[in-house]
């Protein structure tokens, strides 16, 4: 790396959000909406529409997640997510990350189950609906950040750009040798970049999220490998707890809990 590109890279990292905001704010176009390049929006929508057409897929995500330790330094943890999906409501997923217990998720259209083998613990919530609907529900009710939730739910439901304030097409990038549209977005608290495969299969190939609230700007990245004709059998999406395993509950988000209690109280009053 020569000196010039080093400097450019450093400046890029610092001023991503400034760059993004500047992209659409010409002197004569003060409206915030114009800060989002329509081509960047189109690329995200193309990806969502394509994902929606897939009857089934397997995807592997290699992840790298920075964490800021309480003692000060920023360190990086590695991980991997393996997922198999069949439309509209079948999912199996294994999530592996350094310093955490491996987790498996099963969804069969009737209940979403979680299995943590290391702790011989499982949880299950009854829920129906398509997979994207279920993921959205789980995230809002239980405050669980569902692995790959942005791509397997957000993209399909067309909500990925919900909070975006600025967006640009950065250019052409390569992920594992595949040419992609490299997109950059800014929203409150985060910058994120997405690489969408060019051509017939506009699949997400890479995602990087930069947390802006932390001075050291930790990042989370996912590099995705797709298999559009996965092997699926009858047992893929169903979970049977092993003998002796303990059942646990999933903690509800406090706000959701409070709202439910209030709702009940109001309902009681109305009955009276």
């Amino acid at each position: 790396m020569n000196r010039t590109s080093k400097v450019t890279a450093a400046v890029g990292a610092i001023s991503m959000s400034i760059l993004l905001v500047a992209a659409g704010s010409g002197a004569d176009e003060p409206k915030a909406a114009q800060a989002i390049d329509p081509e960047a929006v189109a690329a995200v929508e193309r990806m969502g529409a394509y994902l929606k057409t897939l009857p089934a897929y397997s995807v592997r995500a290699e992840t790298a997640t920075d964490e800021v330790l309480i003692a000060g330094p920023k360190v990086q943890y590695g991980g991997a997510i393996d997922a198999t999906y069949r439309a509209p409501d079948g999912l199996w997923m294994r999530v592996v990350r350094d310093e955490r217990d491996d987790q498996q998720f099963f969804y069969d259209g009737k209940s979403l189950s979680l299995w943590i083998e290391a702790k011989q613990s499982w949880a299950s919530v009854a829920t129906t609906g398509t997979l994207p609907e279920t993921i959205t529900l789980v995230e809002s009710k239980y405050d669980v950040t569902f692995p790959l939730g942005d791509l397997v739910a957000g993209a399909v439901l067309n909500t990925l750009l919900r909070d975006v304030k600025a967006g640009i097409v950065i250019g052409t990038g390569r992920v594992a040798g595949v040419e992609c549209d490299h997109l950059g977005f800014h929203q409150d608290g985060a910058d994120w970049q997405l690489w969408v495969e060019k051509g017939e299969r506009p699949l997400p190939r890479k995602l990087v999220i930069t947390t802006l609230g932390e001075p050291s700007q930790p990042q989370h990245s996912e590099v995705l490998t797709w298999d559009l004709s996965p092997k699926i059998d009858a047992a893929t999406f169903s979970f049977t707890p092993p003998a002796g395993a303990q059942r646990i509950e999933i903690a509800e988000r406090q706000a959701a809990k409070a709202a439910a209690v209030t709702k009940k109280a109001v309902a009681k009053k109305e009955v009276k």
Partner: protein
Amino acid sequence: MKRVTVPLLAVSLLALAVAPVGADRMAARNTTRTSIQHNSGGRSNVNVNRNTNVNVNVNNNRGYYGGGYYHSGPSVGGVIAATVATAIVVGAIVNTLPPNCTTLMMNGLTYQNCGGTYYQPQYQGSSVTYVVVNHP
């Protein structure tokens, strides 16, 4: 740019290296976003804690009591970290159980009785934590 960054990193790793023995030096602040749409932000207590002190975290935006930990760095966003365990409050959440617990099954759910304090395991955020409950 790099010349500035490297010494800073060295200093902060040094701080880690000299943190008191017994402290959970690898405790993460869990502030890194891993989702575009879902921000659980500042989940300061999940998956961070390998000792068993319990204290009260007044700055958790989800209204939980937090698992205790030592830290040698500056106080984080108003988190109060007590170094001495006192009473264990119902609703307190820890990431690791104290030693010598017995398992108790009630209504299909599992509880742990650890010296008369009852803990209920739960899945919270992205890992298993234990919440202190009244006798089930």
